[in-house]
Symmetry: C2
Subunit: 116 residues, 2 copies
DNA sequence: TCGTTTCATTGCAATATTACGATGGTTTTT
DNA sequence: AAAAACCATCGTAATATTGCAATGAAACGA
């Protein structure tokens, strides 16, 4: 039906999936990486940097803002965006905790059980 | 249009977004974590473990298999799934490299520029 | 062989996502 | 005040995703 059954999963699983979903578009990855490389806040540059329309960029920025990954502040006629370090570190922690699993011992056991 | 303009981004950005998208559903997170906790391969258990229909679980397993995160091998009438450690480590590396950015110095600069 | 178990696949309905043109609001510049 | 610059939002079209019932396909046991 196009809607996820979030009530079946833990809050952490839903949160991890939600932030992964936010990162699940190359434009949003590119926006984040450009924000980081510029080491400061951007706005209309993203429209020129990536090849997407202004409305599309604005839409992606909104999603990133909703997720908390970035924040923006008014700066004259333009809006200055930057990474939100608190959310950034929180999400890094979530992914770290997720990927830290699967030590060597488990790898061996799994390979054995799966054959192949 | 519902379709991403992948040609605008680097291969790495597309790959990172793709794997993030695969992880962007709580059922797939739950499947992965259950596979890890069982330390071996599962199949029909997932239908009982999560509250989703068999067809739905099968669909999620297919996506995880397409991404390479898991692999399955026939085991009698059932199919044994497990984490694919090579892909796992590769994706962990991608996320690590992504999140490793934003050292303390940049945090300070960004906060200053953004006001707030 | 026949039924059972276990999955994958198909077909469908409901909803979500992606992209963009057009429009409007806010702030600066002239 | 008028024009310009910048951005968010609305509306729309095309496509993707989610979930499930129903149906097949493959392997096992009686």
């Amino acid at each position: 039906m196009g809607v996820s059954k979030t009530e079946l999963f833990t809050e952490r699983q839903n949160e991890l999936a939600s932030i992964a979903k936010t990162l699940g578009h190359p434009a949003r990855i590119a926006i984040i990486e450009h924000l980081i490389s510029i080491n400061a806040c951007i706005c209309n540059d993203l429209v020129n940097e990536l090849g997407l329309a202004q409305a599309t960029i604005s839409q992606h920025l909104k999603e990133l803002k909703n997720a908390g990954i970035i924040k923006g502040s008014v700066e004259g006629t333009s809006i200055c965006y930057c990474i939100n370090p608190e959310a950034w570190n929180k999400y890094r922690g979530l992914f770290d905790a997720f990927f830290v699993h699967l030590p060597t011992l488990k790898i061996a056991a799994c390979s054995t059980n799966c054959g192949d």
